[in-house]
């Protein structure tokens, strides 16, 4: 078995004592920890618990939606197929704000990857993030994700939805903790 490396050989002997002690602590921890494993080859996938029937119904609903839109679009940057897009407009509480939501084809885990692009929505005065929700009967029904905009009011945010879209009737952006719509479909 090989001997652990000698710290002085690794970093030299010209360090000040305080810094050397700090590095020696790390040196000891590296030896104690041992090597990390080789990286995973496959990315982790999320498999929300859902019934097969529900998944098929969701797939069917989106096929119909895509057909109604004419043809599936393709996201040029990633090559992912866009099943449908939604356009959102600012309410009186966020005049000038607009957003576009691209919903991509279902992934292998049964989730719907999405990308929300927002403009004209300055960061909230409270510092809290904004949230994208699915709505039903005029109320917030399912959270899709949170995001911050930059100083120019821009954001492009990847999100993910493990939901049946036909259970909902719209989308809304709010400030976290508020129920005042800022952007709606």
């Amino acid at each position: 078995m090989r001997q652990p490396p000698n710290l002085d050989e690794l970093v030299g002997s010209d360090l000040d004592p305080q810094e050397r002690a700090r590095l020696e602590r790390v040196h000891d921890l590296l030896i104690a920890a041992g090597p990390p494993p080789e990286p995973l080859e496959a990315p982790v996938t999320l498999r929300p618990a859902r019934r097969r029937g529900a998944l098929l119904a969701l797939a069917a609903a989106v096929v119909v939606a895509a057909f109604a839109l004419g043809a599936a679009l393709v996201d040029g940057s990633s090559g992912r197929s866009v099943d449908f897009t939604e356009t959102m407009a600012g309410t009186a509480a966020a005049t000038g704000a607009t957003a576009s939501l691209a919903v991509f084809e279902i992934d292998e885990a049964g989730n719907w990857p999405m990308e929300l692009t927002v403009s004209g929505l300055p960061p909230s005065a409270s510092g809290r993030p904004f949230e994208l929700w699915l709505t039903r009967d005029g109320g917030l029904a399912a959270l899709c994700g949170g995001f911050f905009t930059n100083a120019d009011g821009w954001a492009t945010v990847p999100m993910n939805a493990p939901y049946r879209f036909d259970d909902f009737d719209g989308w809304v952006v709010i400030e976290e903790g508020s129920e005042t719509p800022l952007l709606t479909t």
Binding site: R25, A32, P37, V44, F147, N150, W154, N160
Partner: protein, 184 residues
């Protein structure tokens, strides 16, 4: 197009974003902790295939449990460690195969407290290694876990010996910054 970035997000901030369903935050956290979780699973299971399955389950548990994280009660790393360890242990209980936990040596049962300490140290160190730039990580791995001398590392990486020493010192200092206050 302007991409919004939240540079240097802490683990805790990422967990909070995951609780809101932010898959991007999840991917970032996965990048930081995949090897640490896998390392923890390997320590418990000893088998690479089972450890990879357990790692998958651990990250699903992290995704589903993120809402239970309370930043006021501690650092994200400790919460992640607890969730991952519990998920791996739950998998052990479900598995029909005999448990193949690693031991320190023949006939020796590691003290549970020592084992827990060793697992925690490995967790934090393996996580901290992810902060090293690509040009610094190899000099650490070759020196500590391949047992190469500085001259051998210079030959393997085809860089001057002085560069090896500079990168090694820089990497250890970076790791010290990352680990300061958590393991001291």
């Amino acid at each position: 197009m302007h991409l919004v970035e939240i540079p240097e997000a802490t683990d805790g901030q990422l967990i909070v974003r995951i609780a809101r369903g932010d898959r991007g935050a999840f991917d970032e956290l996965h990048g930081r902790y995949a090897r640490a979780v896998l390392g923890l699973a390997l320590r418990r299971l000893g088998d690479r295939g089972r450890a990879e399955d357990a790692t998958q389950e651990a990250f699903v548990a992290i995704w589903r449990s993120a809402r239970t994280y309370d930043p006021a009660r501690g650092r994200g790393a400790a919460w992640l460690y607890a969730v991952a360890r519990n998920a791996i242990t739950d998998g052990l209980r479900r598995t029909p195969e005999p448990v193949a936990e690693l031991e320190d040596g023949p006939g020796r049962d590691p003290d549970p407290a020592d084992e827990a300490e060793a697992s925690w140290i490995a967790w934090r160190v393996h996580r901290a290694l992810e902060v090293l730039p690509d040009h610094e990580r190899p000099v650490v791995e070759l020196a500590y876990w391949r047992g190469l001398s500085q001259s051998e590392i210079a030959d393997v990486l085809a860089i001057p010996l002085g560069t090896v020493k500079t990168r090694t010192r820089s990497a250890l200092a970076r790791l010290a910054d990352e680990l300061d206050g958590e393991l001291g």
